[in-house]
Amino acid sequence: MNESIEKPDQNESGFEKPEGFENLSLEYKKTWQEIEKIKPNFAEELKRKGVRIEVVDALMYLASYDEGEKVLKIRHDANVEFLNDYIENILKPDEQINELPDPGKLEDIHIEDGEEEGKEESGSEPNTGPSPESKEGETKIEYMPVPPPAPDAQPELAPNPPVSEPTSNPESQPESTPEEPPQLPVTSESTIPPLPGSSQSEPTESTPEPKVEGQNLPEWKNTEIWKKFEEARYKFAYNKAMLEYGRTSKGYFDVSNYDFENFENYIDLSAKNYKEWRKLVEEDIRKSISKTLGFDLENLTEDQKKELDQNTKIEVFSLLEDEYVERRKVLKKIKEKKGLQSLAEKALEKSKEVLNNKVAKWYISLSKKQRLALNFGIGSLVGLVAGAAGSIGVTSYIGWRAARVATSASASGFAGEWANKKWSIEELNKEEEKEIEELKNSDLGTDEMAKGYRDIKEKYKKERLKLNLKKIGTGAVAGLGAGLIVGAIENLSNSVDSVPNNNGPKNIIENKNAKTDNINNDRVKPREGFQPDERKGSPSVKSDEAEGGKENIKTKKLFSDPSILKHKVVSGDSVWGVLKDKLNQIDKFNNLTEAQKTFVLSSYTNEILKDPAKYGLAEDGSVFVGDELKLDDILNDEQNFETITKSASNNIQPNSPQESNILENNRKISEWVENNPNSNLSQTKIEEILDKNTDAVQSRDGTNLVPTEEEMSKILSDDEPSELDSGAKNNELQPEQIVPKSDPSKSYGYEDQKNTLESEIEDYKQRLNTLEGSEQSGQSITAIRSPYSDSQDAQLLNSVEMGKNDFVNKIYNESKFIGLFRNKGVNTNNWKFMKVLDANKVLNYFNDPNNTELPENVRQTLSTSEKHANLIKGILKVTSDINDKYNVDFKPFSNGENIEDYIKRIGTFLIKRADK
């Protein structure tokens, strides 16, 4: 079609107006008036194709045609001249372009005269539409990128989109195509406004010309600069897309002779043009924002400048988002226009579009945290935050660690797998070695590597400790202080996903299906707290029945409606919080002090952690949205509740050091949270805030209420041989910690003991060397745990062990449910409490209760437990008999020998004597 722009036809186009047209604004009515002036043949063609017209407010261009939906959207400020040109283009036949023009034949492609006329016009005023049509009969301009000009020629820019094109017979045009790509003329004159700064450029000062029709558009989008910016952006996007498809889409173009390098230069100019216009838009944005904020641009304070800069950049970023949208649209158009030869290919493209939409919907369904983890996990594949492959290599251990997790470099990379897996000590050790190996092979500097090594060692040490503690059933990772820490994580941690809690600290929770990228140490778990000691009214009495299975003894119910003790976890919940909510309904709980409540919640949580799955938690004690917590068993026992609350009242007296400790920790954490609203409160951070080893909690008299880490190591080293794995050798037993084998032929005075000890330590060192050699050859070294690890004493070892067990079982056996279930004495908490105590101190206490070094709580337990008393009596009786019979002074070593070892030593002495 080679028509010049004509005056619009005065006849009505006959398009169907929207419902309620009469009630539309004047603006809309004006636009429809323009629509009705569209050329009749165009209108007819559109109607024939079933195209619907919509007038819209917000549209990037004056018009947009969706071929799939058969909708032509027209912006309310479009005029009929533009509309006619636009519609003409969409009604044009589809151009099948199969190859790029031969770079050697540039002269074949030239600008039509009509376009040159258009160029002159567009040099002086904004070009909101296509360039004027070419004259009839002129050479058809191909819809393809113009090949790069000769190196010394000035590359030209794409003309304004969309571009008109001459056709022979408009009425016989086949199905229309959407917006035509711009042509890239080779001549020196451009059809678009030249670059700013050139002789023909527009004034560099922005002269906003707010157009009334831009109802909801910001001020800076109503300027000429904005329009030119949009054009430049489109061209740039188009050129890039063409290059990309030229390179990658075989069958779309024959690229064998194509000079991409020069075309890239061409694109560079196009990019430069785009950026120049963008700078001007940025200035407009800055002015507009400054005006909104009421700032004086000439006299900005530092703060104002910072705020203005920040806001401007954020707004400018939205331009980048638009650029992505633009690129996608252009890519789509190119794909539709070029190379899609068959229905099958078109169908495939459509499927891709559907799939993209589906993925987008799925992505939106993720939480913000998940999206972040997903995106930057992907990014870390190629060096974002970590790795050496990307443009930014990792320099910090933190980054390296994140990348490991994100790229699942090892099994432990998947935090979900890590947390939910039932690790054995051996597996943990293997994982530790693997991580260390990977660290060594990383590109980190020495300092970072050292940091990483420490971090890994610490992490696995904690995991082993937890594992062993679970095995021996103490349930306490550390004392009350650490319980507060973990509880604080639950209750006070800030997260982008947290639900604001008007009562104070925020709670966080993980989505059920989220396998986060955080390493295990940063996961939030229920509060692990204080392990109440074994005294009358002790809160954890119920756990002794665990071995025999939970009996269903009738107990008085605390809650009249047990259904409220089932709780479906929602975002923001935590186990601690849920427990607290439920218990808050009980007056007695409400009447406790804050610290006492903490004690109670700690006790319950501890119980839950012994068997998380039973209460609806994950294996590692985590909770997820959607989980159903089943708290009936644990919360609805009135007797248990009474016991725990009584213990709380007894242990945490008002104004006591314990209370102060708890409250002070809470205060510190709350303060930090308030001052760091956007930071995560991890366990590591909590420990840092509290700045202490929270393994030890002070009792009333200042001594440790629960075992310290040192004592905990001892606990680990004193595990039953059958529970130990070879990997525990990493605990690096020192010979001094190993009780030397006693020599019954020697006397047991203090000096003698000392001498015996020293010589036997030497002896034992020799044994250690032997055993290490055995380990390397694959022999078991579990016997290293025992003082009797000489292979010749294996039988003795077994006998001693059996003897000890018999002795202990007789004292501590428990039977429940009319004797049907028996809990072996060696498995009871009573024994576990007793066996680690310093034998010397315990015996001294029984001999002279007023002169003892034992902590208060231990004394109380010993003094109130008949079983403990019976055990000590038994020990004293046996040793008294030994001393009488063999004329020795058999007593515990003063170096901290514990009850269990002492009993074993007694047993050894007796067995050896029995042989003689």
């Binding site: 950049k313 992505y363 998940q370 983890a373 996990g377 990014g379």
Partner: protein, 99 residues
């Protein structure tokens, strides 16, 4: 995402002069852009069979985005290259804005 990782990302994209709240907003937006562009290019490389398989993964993934990433890494040819290119593009673009 830990604080340290967030800070590193912010630094990589030239956002370290912003206050943390706005950094968070921008990091999220950048992540969205990265995802969109990577997915679009990845889907473009898929044949029909791969698209069907991918769709199945999406249908069952739920919050388990690792499954989705795992699929893309395993099945999309030159996936790392796609990510790298898009990341470079984003970094360049954002650095120009925020530097």
């Amino acid at each position: 995402m830990s604080d340290d990782i967030n800070k590193k990302i912010a630094k990589d994209f030239g956002l370290d002069n912003m206050d943390s709240r706005q950094q968070e907003v921008m990091v999220e937006k950048i992540g969205n852009l990265l995802f969109e562009s990577v997915i679009e290019r990845s889907v473009d490389k898929m044949d029909e069979e791969m698209m069907n398989d991918f769709e199945k993964v999406i249908d069952v993934a739920g919050g388990d985005y690792q499954k989705v990433v795992g699929f893309l890494k395993e099945r999309v040819p030159e996936f790392n290259k796609i990510v790298s290119e898009e990341l470079q593009r984003l970094k360049k673009a954002t650095s120009e804005i925020f530097a």
